[in-house]
């Protein structure tokens, strides 16, 4: 989320930033195939490739929200298609606990989206992206919920390190 992007987004209409975790074997290939088929889809997402949806530590999603993502999306293989046999079941189970957890700490659980897209489903990938951007616009910036702890475009404060605070107080 560079400064240039932030400056641009403040001038124009607000665009949600969507952090997308893609599984290497299905969804990332799906995104690839959407690209090679020259499909037009929104550019709001930043894709991070991970080897398996089961690799995703739920705290990475929370970290994503805290780092300024307005929506976080997790895309994995269909059940039974996992390259590592059971990774997507693990991911699915985590999502069932993570959503009530997000609700409990005051982040709208609808900001988290989990779906299964295979390597050949380029059209599904495109449609999912379009729907998610629409949803993100409805929900608004994450800074509304996180307040002073929001990073990126909505952040007002910069946090100092303990060292910087000490230097300030002695100078």
């Amino acid at each position: 989320m560079s400064q240039a992007e932030a400056a641009q987004s403040s001038e124009q209409e607000w665009e949600p930033r969507i952090l997308t975790f893609c599984c290497n074997w299905c969804s990332y290939a799906g995104a690839d195939s959407a690209g090679t088929s020259r499909m037009q889809y929104p550019t709001n997402m930043r894709i991070i490739r991970i080897m398996c949806s089961g690799r995703l530590n739920p705290m990475f999603i929370v970290k994503g929200f805290l780092s300024g993502a307005d929506m976080v999306m997790m895309l994995g293989c269909h059940f039974g298609d996992c390259h590592y046999l059971k990774g997507n079941f693990a991911c699915n189970a985590r999502m069932t606990l993570l959503k009530p957890y997000l609700q409990a700490i005051g982040i709208n659980p609808e900001r988290l989206y989990w779906n299964q897209i295979s390597a050949s489903e380029a059209i599904k990938f495109k449609e999912t992206m379009e729907n998610i951007v629409k949803k993100g616009k409805e929900l608004g910036p994450i800074a509304n919920e996180l307040g002073v702890h929001a990073q990126g475009a909505g952040a007002q404060t910069s946090k100092k390190t303990a060292k910087a605070v000490a230097e300030d107080s002695f100078s």
């Binding site: 009530p100 919920e145 303990a162």
Partner: protein
Amino acid sequence: MFYGKATDQATQERGECGGAVTAILTAALEQNLVDGALVIKRSESIYDGFPFFATTKEEIAEASGSLHCAPTLSAKVIKNYLDGARDTRIAVTCKPCDARAIVEMGKRNQINMDNIYMVGVNCAGTMPPVPAREMIRKFYEIDPDDVVKEEIAKGKLIIQTKDGEHKEVSIDTLEKEGYGRRKNCQRCEFNIPRMADIACGNWGVIGPDAGQATFIEVFTDKGQKLLDTATSSGALTLTDAPPEGIALREKLDGIMVKMAHKFMDAQFAKYDGDDKFEKMFADLDRCILCRNCIINCPICYCEECFTKKDYVMAQGTLPPEPMFHLTRLMHIGPSCVDCGQCEDGCPAEIPIAMITHMVQTDLQKATGYVPGRSLEDPIPLSEWEEVQE
């Protein structure tokens, strides 16, 4: 369900309500059922107690009697100082939160449950030591050091002074003024430790035995073994509890659970609303990262802490990044037993126990998992293979 009483006159007098717990522990030790008993021993005053591993009959006798101002938790003591009961057979007296914490740690293989005999004691709440002293001075108008005995009965805190004088004030009155039981005890729904091997207490003792005998309920085979050992060695006499007594106990339990729900709603309302995250972090940002909450928590047990990784949160910033608290809430949230140790240890006086309990109740609604209820309930996410939407 029985009424139990120690046969030994001295034990009866030293112990609470007929000294049944002392008799059971002594018999288990003497009959070589256990190697020692983890008990709470009175410190210099009644406002302090410490966990103590008693290995002789005399040591157990020293620790007899109840304490309501000892903010201790036996579970982490067993893991840290008794090697998780790997090779030691331990009988442990436990409040419901101790018992739940032990069960949770047992599920995580931190405590060897085969070697643990849980002698549960009913608990209607404990009090923080320092505010308790203030409270005695303010409401009872006596010097806190003159108090020799305190007990909670019929919704009242009754104290006995050196001169043998009894004074009582209702707990409602104390709690309206901000004193009384700890905040987490007010929210506690578990007054009878049904996850322990046996549960002892004074609730439901009626008739001529009132105050002179202990109500004992047995839950497991191990509990039955404890009772058999005590009765066969002649240390304990048992009589069957009358149905009226059992009904009274259930009724008292019901009242306490209802009160707990009221307290939960009232306390959790503090963070309600659309800006829950901001409200929570207004408190949590007082954190000075001393990690007392992690050290004290019975559910936190990782050797390598996730929050010490650079990729999780920046190291060395104050207040810590929100990831610190959010990780704690995620890791222990589903299993929080609301023992209140984190809040007791917090130098910044953040209501951490309340926040964690709030997250736990929300997760409980979603997963149905009640922490520490039974060894058979699987921890959420531990049996994920079977779940398929």
